[in-house]
Amino acid sequence: MSSPDVLSSTDSSSRRLSVTGVAKAVFLKVGVLPFFLVVALVVFSLISGQFLSLQNLTNVARQSVYLILVSLGQMIVLITGGFDLAVGTAIALTSVVSALAMVALAAAMPEHVWLVITLGCLAGFGAALAVGCLNGIGIAQFGVSPFIMTLGVQSVGAGTALFLTGGVPVSRLPQEFGNTFGFARVYGMPVPVIIAIVAIVVIWIVMNRTKFGAHVYAVGGNTKAAHLSGVPTKRVLFLAYVMCALLASLAGLLLTARVESGETNLGGSVALESIAACVIAGVSLRGGIGRVESVVLGAFFIVLVQNGMNIAQIGSYLQMVLLGSLLILAVILDQFRYRMLVGRA
């Protein structure tokens, strides 16, 4: 009989309650991220002394802006119970369309630089809006599975971007665009970081303080129950994909400003990275669960790990292997967490 074993194990676990109990509570509340973060910080700072330097961490913060923006959008969609594989396409299309628009407009009216930049950005947002609407209509109205819909749109968008440019980067953007949105600092803070902070605050308020946010959680938690509680479930789904595309688009504009050209290959691996960031940050793939602040930290963590691997001189091929493994590990741990949350019934 196993009963003596069982009894003794419960005894010892109650004695270690202080450590394991707290760890378990943290795991249930926020997921695997704190544990991953501690491991990453310890490992990389052992490998290199520079890793924990203020300069390097600031650098990581600046680099993580793009992934944070995309991950926020990805989070909204994940909470509804879907996911968006077309975020990379939204970035590429934004980049290409905004660059093409700016180049064409700058030739037409070289004296109005800021008008050109504004219209160019709007064109970029418009392109991403089309991507988001396409996803939203397919998934909300026609009930296509998010996997197939966003996979298809991803191909449509990537093809369109390549078609528009012939695969050649669009260069000769207005100098001011790159200078302002790529490299400028306000009170010592890089402009992209400021924009990201504003976006984070806005999304936090949307998710935690507005009806729409509450609806997103409800739709992901149980669509039928949400419907019977008077939630416009189709509209919520649609808007989630639109917001996701627009956030990716914002990241796309900032990236375009940074590289100072419209590129079709921006955001190639961002779908995987953003889903990984969210899942590691405790967003459930079944929907209904996820927190803005954790996702920001999750995206930061992914970039931190990439930075650490660069410092440790791990090749980019091996980095892909590690990132994929990390995602799978996080999903497995998420399964355990879900079971603990919902109970074993």
Binding site: S3, K211, N222, A225, V231
Partner: protein, 503 residues
């Protein structure tokens, strides 16, 4: 007898982190007996059968089958030991046919290939023997819940179960189906199968039970022969107190305004229904599964397509409006399946109630954003009103007992002023204690001048609560009864007699 009992559990305990679900319980099941497990939700019935069916391992105690001590560490092992369990959540694959499901995992083979003909024929033979009239080639998804239940039981028997565990098998069945199920259970019993039967329906025990074991708060209260105990004594054993008034007296407001009127409603399974739902009274809706008693409401709410008819609320035509608009115009719908349609299982009880507070202007603060403190306070107040313990409010709904989940579901209706409350199976799978609390809520709503519709398969419930009772049969109203006309005989008679029309 001299022979060892079929199942013998001695001193079984089960602890979960922070809770003792079962403490020191003895239980024996003989061959050829139907043994009822009885108790309120959370009394430990589910834990006990989960141990016996290999889902949980006991913290202490021993389990013997045929006198041999055995340890079950998985459902598969329990099945191999001859223990077949039919849980409330079915283990059927909706896209596969009945006979494929019955043989699932144990497909007969001929050479390398699955012998589909043998599967189909043996299933058909089994069904003939049991008297179930289902085409065995139908996909499970097209069967009613009641029929699925029967398939589930047939599946357990096909696997040569010697111990059959049935968890609330009649919760979704009608009287007629229940009778069929009972005759089948008796047949299985007479063949030497030991049946463990969990149910809240005391009135069934006389018909089916040999022994009754009563549990309360995880402890064994006693095992009695069914023949020797009265219903009242059982209730007292279960609750530890006498419940002389499970069903409250509800005062009826005479001549109440017709708040919701249905005229000529047609939708799948419903062929022309006229009903007026009046303020200040309880309208009961009874009928068999498939009679349309539930679907008529789903039809007018836009949950299934309405093919004809007119719906008016206080003289305003609301036919064919989006579900959301109908709900907003003052209808509360309590769905019959709280897990699939009612609750966000991963969210807390409080968050589930808060979901219905989002449109409340007084809980909205700056810039139309909802104020978390005020909406939380309101949700907690509602929690108190529906008698949820404060410590249940922050808990994930999935971890609450069925009774508490149902209270949360009721709580969703108290956020906003509604005119009409449509309660579809308001107490399904809920214990007596909680039931009486929910009935009090129904009384309060009615006496506050709301129009309350109670759709229920539980005949005593719908009979005792209703001021007016409509009986459905074959998608039509076969009778409309009032006051003293509401008796078990008249209602049952109209269950099967669809000839008389209400018109």
């Amino acid at each position: 007898m001299g022979e060892a009992p079929l199942v013998e559990m001695t001193g079984v305990s089960k602890e979960f982190p922070g809770a003792k679900a079962l403490s020191d319980v003895d239980f024996r099941l003989e061959r050829g007996e139907v043994h009822v497990l009885f108790g309120e939700n959370g009394a430990g019935k589910s834990t006990l059968i989960s141990i016996l069916s290999g889902v949980y391992r006991p913290t202490a105690g021993t389990l013997r089958i045929d006198g041999e001590e055995i340890e079950l560490s998985s459902v598969q092992e329990a099945r191999a030991a001859g223990i077949g369990t039919v849980f409330q959540e079915f283990s059927l694959v909706p896209t596969l046919s009945v006979f494929e499901n019955v043989h699932l995992g144990k497909e007969p083979r001929r050479g390398l290939f699955v012998d589909r003909r043998a599967m189909e024929e043996s299933t058909k033979a089994l069904f003939d023997e049991l008297g179930f009239e289902i085409d065995v080639r139908t996909p499970i998804a097209r069967l009613s819940r009641a029929q699925q239940q029967m398939v589930e039981i047939a599946k357990a028997l096909q696997a040569k179960a010697r111990v059959l565990i049935l968890d609330e098998p009649t919760a979704s069945l009608t009287e007629k189906e229940t009778e069929k199920l009972f005759s089948f259970i008796r047949r299985a019993r007479d063949g030497g199968v030991g049946v463990i039967y969990i149910s809240h329906r005391i009135q069934e025990f006389a018909a089916i039970a040999d022994q009754i074991t009563v549990l309360r708060d995880g402890k064994l209260i006693g095992t009695v022969a069914a023949r020797e105990i009265s219903e009242a004594a059982l209730v007292e054993l279960m609750t530890g107190r006498t419940i002389d008034k499970v069903y409250p007296q509800i005062r009826r407001q005479n001549g109440g305004e017709a708040l919701l009127s249905l005229r000529g409603i047609r939708t799948a399974g419903v062929n022309g229904i006229d009903i007026d739902v009046r303020a200040g009274e309880v309208l009961g809706v009874a009928g068999l599964v498939g009679s349309g008693k539930s679907r008529v409401w789903r039809g007018i709410l836009g949950l299934q397509p309405l093919t004809a008819g007119k719906v008016t609320m206080r003289d305003r035509d609301v036919t064919g409006l989006a579900t959301r608009r109908l709900l907003r115009s003052g209808i509360f719908y309590l769905p019959p399946d709280r897990k699939s349609e009612g609750l966000v299982l991963t969210a807390s009880a409080r968050e589930n109630i808060q979901l219905n507070l989002l449109d409340r202007a007084d809980l909205t603060g700056l810039l139309g954003m909802h104020s978390p403190t005020r909406s939380r306070a309101e949700a907690d107040a509602i929690g108190t009103r529906v008698d949820l313990a404060p410590k249940a409010m922050p808990k994930t709904v999935a971890t609450l007992s069925g009774g508490n989940q149902q209270k949360v579901l009721f709580g969703k209706g108290f956020g906003e002023e509604r005119l009409v409350y449509i309660l579809d199976e308001p107490t399904v799978g809920v214990d007596m204690g909680t039931r009486s609390q929910l009935y009090l809520l129904i009384r309060d709503l009615t006496e506050a001048g709301k129009a309350v519709v109670v759709v229920s398969s539980d005949l005593p419930e719908v009979m005792h609560l209703s001021h007016r009772l409509v009986v459905f049969c074959g998608g039509r109203i076969s009778a409309e009864l009032e006051g003293t006309d509401i008796s078990e005989e008249t209602v049952l008679g109209h269950f099967f007699n669809g000839q008389r029309n209400s018109a």
